[in-house]
Symmetry: C2
Amino acid sequence: MKKYLEILKKCPLFDGIGEEHLLTMLPCLGATVSAYDKKYTILMEGTAAKYLGIVLSGSVQTVQVDFYGNRSILSEMTASQIFGEAFACAEVSSLPVSVIANEPCEVMFIDCSHILHTCSNHCGFHQQLIYNLMKDLATKTLLFHQRIEVTSKRTTREKLMTYLLLQSKKEGSRKIVIPFDRQELADYLEVDRSGLSAEIGKLKKEGILDCDKNRFVLL
Amino acid sequence: MKKYLEILKKCPLFDGIGEEHLLTMLPCLGATVSAYDKKYTILMEGTAAKYLGIVLSGSVQTVQVDFYGNRSILSEMTASQIFGEAFACAEVSSLPVSVIANEPCEVMFIDCSHILHTCSNHCGFHQQLIYNLMKDLATKTLLFHQRIEVTSKRTTREKLMTYLLLQSKKEGSRKIVIPFDRQELADYLEVDRSGLSAEIGKLKKEGILDCDKNRFVLL
DNA sequence: CTCCTTTTGTTGAAAATTCAACAGACTTTC
DNA sequence: GAAAGTCTGTTGAATTTTCAACAAAAGGAG
């Protein structure tokens, strides 16, 4: 586990926990590590939701795919970020989303019941973990609000611009590198890919933005 | 505060806390109660996000209104449910949503910093409150996923049917009473009101559902 | 009961999205 | 380096949504 220490120290789940304690804590939590190839389905919709995952390297996406095969990308997590925690903490019986490897990645799994239900004296940091989960979930809720602010717009142009402006504000720069290719961006914005490409073309012509692949510049 | 005891006992924030402790705890938390008329803006977008609210009577909605006046309804809370907790827990400086009174209502406010930052030995139930907040936020995240499952559909018909089927499953009945009027349902589904009315009309004609005001029956 | 306000359903036209198909650019693999 | 596969931009037609306007229905106030 030691090789992942630098990543884990940045994980919001372990805020306020010294690295010496972190390493002794991991076995108690039943932490395991797995590696996945790109596109691999790490957690499948409909299966049990016992574990939360921590991205150690690479990145993962949470996606919903409906009856007709339409995909929605809900979020993307990179190194030291958590996924699946909401479902494990809410103790639902089956996952409402899938989690897939966006690129080759390594993931640490922790059985959430070890955090939620273990005797609270077993480990002095137990309460800290619950506090950290609470903080993390509050932050994730904010991200959902932002996503809804984006997808609630009625036109492709407005969705794209709202998304880019939010990212720009977050990065503090007019230059934005997005973690999506065109199809993924369309699945995040919930619009048609070809219509999205066309709209990006128009915005370029109008001098509102510049774009090369997944790098955007607001003008 | 005593008159609200029955409501507060059902509030997820106070799970596992006996009523005798609940009453002594409220002053420590700095709880205050206010009443509002229908349509009143209880919390305004852009203002501070220090407090979480508990609905004591009536109901409230969290809404986002964009630059052009388009409204999105994000959620609705009725008696003993919590609102604003995500923003207070995430300690954001300004609210990204407004909360309005959907009908005349009474609300209890608690300064969230009293839960997050008070010395953890001050009150034996402090940890329980944080645990409860964590649970509540996990549940809210699930609701957001459901909402996204609904609004990610591309047509008014699909959005409406997905919403009704989810509600039907939740209630365990083909008969559904929704907490929205037509305009509000449109703002929740993120579609045009008149188009929604037309679509409901078509679905009736096709014998797929029956509908009287805010009562729906799936056939 | 009547008047006034709000809500709902309908309509048609304009605007936007979706869909399918294709060609060029770019990557990856062997 | 060639071939296969993937990603992206473009097109036009069909579908759907949005928008504005209006009238009927329902609800509330006096």
